[in-house]
């Protein structure tokens, strides 16, 4: 049963109890217990979130912001309550700064099509890191082509750590935007966002944070980071697919032109013209994704009850253990920081002899789900002189024995291919 008005209670971080909340963890894959290690791609969902979708459609379903009838009022309240929960979760000063989108990719495109469209001119530059997801590369490439602007990259060392000293000569007086991933979905690197924000602000640029991999896993505070925009997807943080968030500073969002036009985003329409609704509705044209927004609120409740400090601590322990186990195999190289303290729970690795796809298939036969391929970061993966990597990524329900299953699975696969 969902209680959409509950404030965050707290709960002991007990992995067995957490696992019991996730129905999918009971299923078998290829006759084996599922070991789900593809959380960076999308997380599993607890019953609490699944039930909130069912409850919404069974009890509350109607349209928001337009009816005077009970269901519409309840739906509107629940939808707006979810927005407030998200705002609190990332410590946003105002809940109107939280805009619902479809996912991180749409949030990034929104900023590119509105803020950057209005603020980037010929000869200006946009600075991103060399470890971005395609979603935080391609919109800026396209914008740069269109505007005659330059797209610059911040480099990193062999361990995947950003060269902050070098950033000083990349970010300059013509920089309008610095856009960086908070945590790399390939290397696991946690980037120094607050430092990059200071450098951006120093030259009058704004900073956008791709927080798709950080908000689900660690405490994120938009004010402490001094961010201007921040994007993430609900599906990677226990929530449903099809919904994401763009957070932006009020003054920036307020000054930006709309992204899409239609119902809900207008205040007044005449046959000749229209003017725009207030934030956040200016950016939410048409009937929004009500059910999934409410379920995102349920996901935020679930994470808040566990406490993001505890979530992060659990993943740090698991990551340190996994790095140690994987590296001790001797023939596996891990991309990104070798020091577990510098990274999140995303471990991309390359086996000396077994191609990631063969490994992925062999592990799948053992019920173990990992990601293989270029991880939507082709330029980055190629920079390690490989075309593909295998990736294991953790979340609140993963255990050390699942890490053991992974390592054992890799050994089994070695045995298989060296018959």
């Amino acid at each position: 049963m969902s209680d959409s008005t509950s404030t965050a209670r707290s709960r002991v971080f007990d992995v067995d109890a957490i696992r019991a909340d996730f129905p999918i963890l009971k299923r078998k894959v290829n006759g084996q217990d599922l070991v789900y290690l593809d959380n960076a791609a999308s997380s599993q969902k607890p019953s609490h979130v699944i039930q909130s979708l069912v409850d919404y459609y069974e009890q509350t379903n109607s349209n928001v912001h337009r009816g005077v009838h009970t269901l519409s009022i309840e739906a509107t309240d629940a939808y707006e309550m979810a927005r407030t929960k998200v705002a609190t979760f990332i410590n946003a000063p105002r809940s109107e700064e939280v805009i619902w989108t479809r996912n991180t990719s749409e949030s990034l495109n929104l900023v590119a099509a509105t803020w950057a469209e209005a603020n980037v001119a010929e000869g200006d530059n946009i600075v991103i890191t060399a470890m971005e997801h395609h979603s935080n590369i391609v919109p800026w490439q396209q914008l740069a082509f269109k505007k005659g602007a330059e797209l610059r990259y911040l480099s990193h060392n062999d361990d995947g750590v950003i060269d902050l000293a070098g950033a000083g000569s990349v970010i300059d007086s013509r920089t309008k935007l610095v856009s960086a991933t908070h945590m790399s979905n390939v290397l696991g690197t946690i980037n120094p966002i607050a430092e990059l924000a200071a450098m951006a602000h120093e030259v009058g640029a704004v900073i956008l944070v791709d927080a798709a991999q950080s908000v689900p896993h660690m405490p994120v505070d938009v004010q402490a980071l001094d961010a201007d925009f921040l994007c993430f997807s609900a599906h990677k943080m226990l929530g449903p697919t099809g919904i994401g968030v763009l957070w932006g500073r009020y003054e920036l969002l307020d000054a930006m032109p709309p992204y899409m036009f239609g119902g809900d985003m207008i205040l007044e329409v005449t046959y000749e013209d229209a003017n725009w609704n207030d934030l956040p509705y200016k950016f939410e044209a048409g009937t929004p994704n009500i059910a999934d927004a409410i379920a995102t609120g349920a996901a935020v409740d679930y994470l808040s009850e566990l406490g993001m400090d505890n979530v992060w601590k659990h993943e740090q322990e698991l990551t340190a253990y996994a790095m140690e186990q994987i590296l001790s195999m001797g023939n596996v190289k891990v991309l990104g920081p070798q020091d577990p303290a510098l990274r999140g729970g995303v471990i991309s690795f390359i086996h000396d002899t077994i191609h990631p796809h063969d490994l992925g298939t062999a592990l799948d036969q053992q019920g173990i789900a990992i990601r293989t391929g270029h991880h939507c970061a082709m330029p980055l993966v190629r920079s390690f002189d490989v075309v593909a990597a295998a990736r294991a990524s953790f979340y609140i329900y993963n255990t050390k024995s699942e890490v053991d299953a992974l390592v054992n699975g890799i050994s089994e696969t070695e045995g298989y291919f060296s018959r």
């Binding site: 290829n30 006759g31 084996q32 191609h355 990631p356 796809h357 063969d358 298939t361 062999a362 036969q365 053992q366 293989t372 391929g373 270029h374 082709m378 993966v381 190629r382 490989v386 075309v387 593909a388 089994e412 696969t413 045995g415 298989y416 291919f417 018959r419």
Partner: protein
């Protein structure tokens, strides 16, 4: 010997001995001088890439060289392809490419085609692993297209 009994499930159906053999020791990997067909094929999904070179004399393939990197399936498939095309006429290669496509899709192939394909029939194991069909098809599709271009010249 691990495999079927060890929790690796249906792996043996995908990685038959002949596939592993071609993966470990790919055939025809030498560069071809002045090739008539010279193409790069790659699978953007997984990054696998192969360089295929053929020399065609008197309407039949006299030399073939395939190099590249990829998974066991795509490498074995490329090596099997190289073995098959040698000495074949362009139209024989085209029919073989067509038969392989049908084999991998799970469609019927004739006895005559099975005879021509020989060891290549082992690639049919990918049918149980649909996401791997692309790996097996990579070099074949590229070659089919290139041959058509060559014939059209």
């Amino acid at each position: 010997m691990t495999g079927g009994m060890s929790g690796l499930g249906d792996m043996d159906e995908l990685y038959e001995a002949i596939i592993l053999d071609h993966y470990r020791s790919p055939r025809n990997t030498a560069t071809v001088e002045e090739p008539d067909i010279d193409l790069e094929v790659n699978n953007p999904f997984c990054g696998d890439e192969f360089h295929i070179q053929l020399k065609v004399d008197d309407d039949s393939v006299s030399q073939v060289g395939i190099t590249g990197r990829g998974c066991a399936i795509s490498q074995a498939s490329a090596s099997l392809l190289a073995e098959l095309v040698k000495g074949k006429s362009a139209s024989e290669v085209e029919s073989a490419v067509d038969a392989v496509r049908r084999l991998l899709k799970g469609e019927e192939i004739t006895h005559a085609e099975a005879d021509i394909l020989g060891d290549i029939e082992a690639l049919g194991g990918v049918r149980k692993f649909p996401v791997r069909i692309k790996c097996a098809l990579l070099s074949w599709v590229g070659l089919g297209d290139a041959l058509q271009d060559h014939l059209a010249k």
